[in-house]
């Protein structure tokens, strides 16, 4: 009798905060790999681990919700500490699309350059250098008949004397498995633009994508091809990279799903001599990730 009363009291105490946080989702992805890189010793390395919280709350405005999200790096390889933040933003979402302010993903990556960032190992994202941005005000349109657009303004008082330091516009169009995307990133101070165009095609177990980037600041035009083929719980992936100035390389990877939320991979990354002169390195990487 007493026991059940205590249980009831405990349940009551727990229920209150749970109701208050009903919409918050705690999520994460821990990714660790072992890397054998040319000219380096064997290394256990973190592979973009993150833990985050996200959710939405009612605004009282019909059909409009306030959203929030925070996401932090976790150094799984050494120290196990929470590292720098990845994302932190608030915003409003509804039939009009989504407007958010804070540190968030750039549409340059999510609409365009992410199309070829499909591998897990060292060969992935070889030409991508824009991922997330701070000081951002972003608007992403709803999907309209396969079309979607986005605009981001980056305003940082500490940067370089402009009200808006950089703009990022992006658009993509999807139909029947095909997706094409294009994005422009302009730096108001330096006048150095980055342009990216990608195309992807997905059909059942097959996925292929191509990406082209023109980076004015670095004065390079780079392109990349990536593809994957899935069978059972196994996926074979490959990418080919042209770094410009005769540098090129390729990656080959196999992934094995272990249930729905974890997987292992083995990746081979090979670059030619010209790419090695740019600081790229051959590597074999083997890793595991668990999502929750």
């Amino acid at each position: 009798m007493k026991k059940s009363l205590i249980a009831l009291a405990v349940a009551g105490a727990l229920a209150a905060p749970m109701v208050a946080q009903a919409d918050a989702t705690l999520y994460g992805s821990l990714r660790v790999m072992v890397v054998d890189q040319e000219d380096s010793e064997l290394n256990v390395a973190d592979n973009s681990s993150r833990i985050g919280i996200k959710g939405s709350v009612d605004t009282g405005i019909d059909g409009v919700k306030a959203i929030y999200r925070g996401e932090w790096k976790v150094n799984t390889a050494d120290g196990a500490d929470f590292g720098a933040g990845r994302l932190a933003y608030v915003g409003l979402t509804g039939g009009f699309g989504t407007a958010a302010i804070g540190q968030q993903w750039t549409p340059y990556y999510t609409f365009v350059t992410g199309a070829t960032d499909i591998l897990d190992g060292k060969s992935t994202a070889p030409t991508q250098d824009v991922f997330r941005t701070g000081n951002a005000i972003a608007y992403v349109s709803p999907e309209m008949g396969g079309f979607q657009g986005a605009l981001v303004a980056i305003a940082d008082d500490n940067a370089n004397g402009e009200d808006v330091d950089a703009y990022n516009v992006a658009a993509k169009y999807s139909v029947a498995g095909f997706t094409v995307g294009a994005s422009l990133l302009t730096d108001e101070a330096s006048d150095n633009d980055m342009t990216a165009v990608s195309a992807a095609y997905a059909a059942g177990p097959l996925y292929v994508a191509a990406l082209y980037q023109d980076k004015e600041a670095a004065d390079v035009k780079q392109w990349e091809l990536a593809g994957s083929y899935a069978f059972g719980d196994t996926k074979v992936l490959a990418n080919y990279i042209d770094f410009d100035n005769d540098g090129n390389g390729f990656g080959l990877e196999v992934q094995q799903k272990l249930g729905k939320q974890s997987r292992v991979f083995a990746n081979i990354y090979e670059v030619n001599d010209d790419a090695e002169d740019m600081g790229k390195k051959d590597a074999i990487s083997v890793g595991m990730r668990v999502d929750f």
Partner: protein, 236 residues
């Protein structure tokens, strides 16, 4: 459509039955070199009886099972490279993907191939060699040939074997030569040990049994277990 497939299935079963029951009917077509083959066969048999089999038996009784399994897995992983090469040459997309995945997982997570982690992952071992590739592209098997020391083969597979030996990763890459030879020795012992269970199946004229088993097995492998031939029902 269903009835058609059904009929073909039974024809295939009947066909297999006929081949097994009448192995001697096509001797002269399959085995014009029978006289030569039989003498090589008995030579091989003698070498096996005196040297090869006793060594293999000693190997399997002395070596702990765990080590034996490791040796087997290690060389299977190296053999998977040959399989991958030939799956690609036969334009088999999924089989190539499976072999590639097996090699990459077994070489890394499987500690250089000693553990076969790919099989429990659902990646079953494939077997392809250059003889099968030639067969896939339409080369006939040619007459049955027994090769000295190397054993049962046919003209096509002898060519295939030469290519396989020359492209073998262990043969090309293993260094230094001493270790390579020790490894090759272990590999041959392992190969012989793998044949122990099959020996118990032999019945009747051993030469004919081995020949028919070999030729049928190769045909089966080239066709990947499918029987694409059209059968004339009046034959049955």
């Amino acid at each position: 459509m269903f009835a058609f497939t059904y009929k073909r299935f039974f024809s295939a079963v009947a066909m297999v039955g006929v081949i097994s029951l009448q192995p001697a009917s096509a001797d002269s077509d399959v085995d014009p070199l029978e006289g030569f083959n039989r003498s090589v066969y008995s030579f091989n048999k003698a070498v096996d009886r005196v040297v090869y089999k006793p060594l293999a038996q000693a190997y399997t009784s002395v070596t702990p099972d765990l080590v034996e399994k490791g040796v087997h897995n290690f060389f299977s992983n190296i053999g998977d490279v040959t399989t991958l090469l030939n799956s690609v040459l036969q334009l088999k997309g999924e089989a190539s993907a499976i072999s590639l995945s097996r090699i990459m997982f077994n070489t890394t997570f499987g500690l250089g191939g000693v553990l076969d982690v790919a099989t429990p992952m659902g990646l079953r071992e494939q077997t392809e060699d250059f003889g099968q590739t030639l067969g896939y592209w339409g080369a006939p098997s040619g007459p049955y040939v027994v090769l000295p020391l190397l054993g049962p083969s046919n003209v096509r597979d002898t060519v295939g074997l030469a290519v396989d030996i020359n492209t073998d990763v262990w043969g090309r890459e293993a260094k230094p030569t001493d270790s390579k030879n020790v490894g090759t020795g272990l590999r041959l012992l392992d190969r012989r040990v793998q044949l122990f269970p099959a020996e118990r199946l032999v019945s009747g004229d051993e030469y004919v049994f081995v020949r028919d088993a070999y030729m049928q097995r190769r045909e089966f492998l080239v066709q990947d277990g499918r029987f694409d031939q059209q059968f004339d029902e009046s034959d049955f």
